[in-house]
């Protein structure tokens, strides 16, 4: 991998997009970047997102979204799934949440 590679987030997967300014659309299949880990904290009884220098304590819907970011589910499918579990989580909110993670390069998007 060269330093000019647009996906130098610590991953070498081809055909991925990440970084600021990337818009999330319904056919994208989000996948957590390899340097980010989703885990469960027994002490806090909460799902946690871990990064080399950052910890994010997730709420229930945030955790539910991230668990579906496996590179197989599309954003549209994730929105539908969240809608059945949490009536109060509209699709726009899911897309905004994912867009923020893509902008921080914690999430990659594959399409097709």
């Amino acid at each position: 991998m060269t330093a000019m590679d647009a996906t130098s987030t610590g991953t070498t997967r081809a055909g991925t997009r990440t970084g600021p300014g990337v818009e999330v659309c319904g056919s994208d299949r989000p996948l957590l970047a390899r340097h980010v880990r989703l885990t469960f904290c027994r002490t806090r009884q909460r799902r946690i997102l871990l990064h080399p220098e950052t910890v994010v304590v997730l709420n229930g819907s945030g955790a539910a979204i991230l668990e579906l970011c496996d590179g197989r589910h599309t954003v549209a499918e994730i929105v539908t799934e969240l809608g059945t579990r949490y009536r109060a989580v509209p699709g726009d909110e899911v897309r905004r949440f994912l867009t923020r993670l893509v902008a921080r390069r914690w999430m990659e998007l594959t399409d097709g």
Partner: protein, 371 residues
Amino acid sequence: MDSPFGLLAELTYRCPLACPYCSNPLNMAGYRDELALDEWRRVLAEAGDLGVLQCHLSGGEPLLRRDLVEIAAAAHDLGLYTNLVTSAVGLSRPRAERLRAAGLDHVQISIQADEAAVSDRIAGIPSFRRKIEAMRLVKELGWPLTMNVVLHRHNIDRVADVLTLAEEVGADRLELANTQYYGWAWRNRAALLPSRAQLDAAEVVVRAARERLRDRMDVIYVISDYYSRYPKPCMGGWASRQLTVTPNGDVLPCPAAQSLPLPRASVREDSLARIWAESPVMNAFRGTDWMPEPCRSCFRREVDFGGCRCQAFLLTGDAARTDPVCHLSPDHHLVAGAVEAANTGSRAGDPALVPRPHRARRPDRIPRGSG
């Protein structure tokens, strides 16, 4: 009181390098009785139970611990996000492959400048080439790589070239951290503190590079707090989010706190949970009750937590004073004076840098339970 998120595990203060900005304590001989592997395993397990999620394996040079792979494996097996903070001297391919297999998540490699002669002069030993090779190896093995460069008067003018080097080696993150004045850096402050013109020029370069590289590299810039109006929110508040365990098992809110006149707490004498919750060292400056004016009535008291207790102690002799970096501090002249000195006089009159001792000494005795 919250649970801590991060553990800084300082495995040894031995180091092959001799950087004059090192934040390790001046009395390194007091830390030779290093915790053994079994003791670290217990500390890591207790940290996990306490709610710690991230473990930074640091030093000194953690690669000088022969049992580093076992320590990293223990942290990983507990589910901790595990980060190696290293000079990369000693990161051979077999060692790196074993660390990868042990589950180490992330590697941070320090480098002293973008160019061999300058980097090696600051580090005190020829190390630049090995560091570059190690960075390429880290990328080849699929780790995310952070390059860390401590900035000071002798290298900050080269920040554009440092950014180019980080791009060339494919770093995912670049930490450009202005020197914090503790340990050996405190002793060398007059020789390390850059001028305002140097900082201004560097910040222009960094801002432009951040924009240019935003799709492929995180560029973190740690400002020089001596030049700030307000102090840094040190550690997110005293004993609030993180804790440090020193090579001999002392527990501290941060590595610099060893310099403060507070009672010791050691994992060799008590559990991490009880130390975190009850020890005098952890409770000395927790919350806001300890604060003097001007912090006590300041709207920023929960923003910067009064700044850094260790900096207040080093500058004033009293850890409970407002961090003198703050322009509202009655002791601010102590910082202003150092800044003024860094902005007058000629470079030819610069004080000499005192390197920290860099002999990679073995401990005086074999740690219990090692091997």
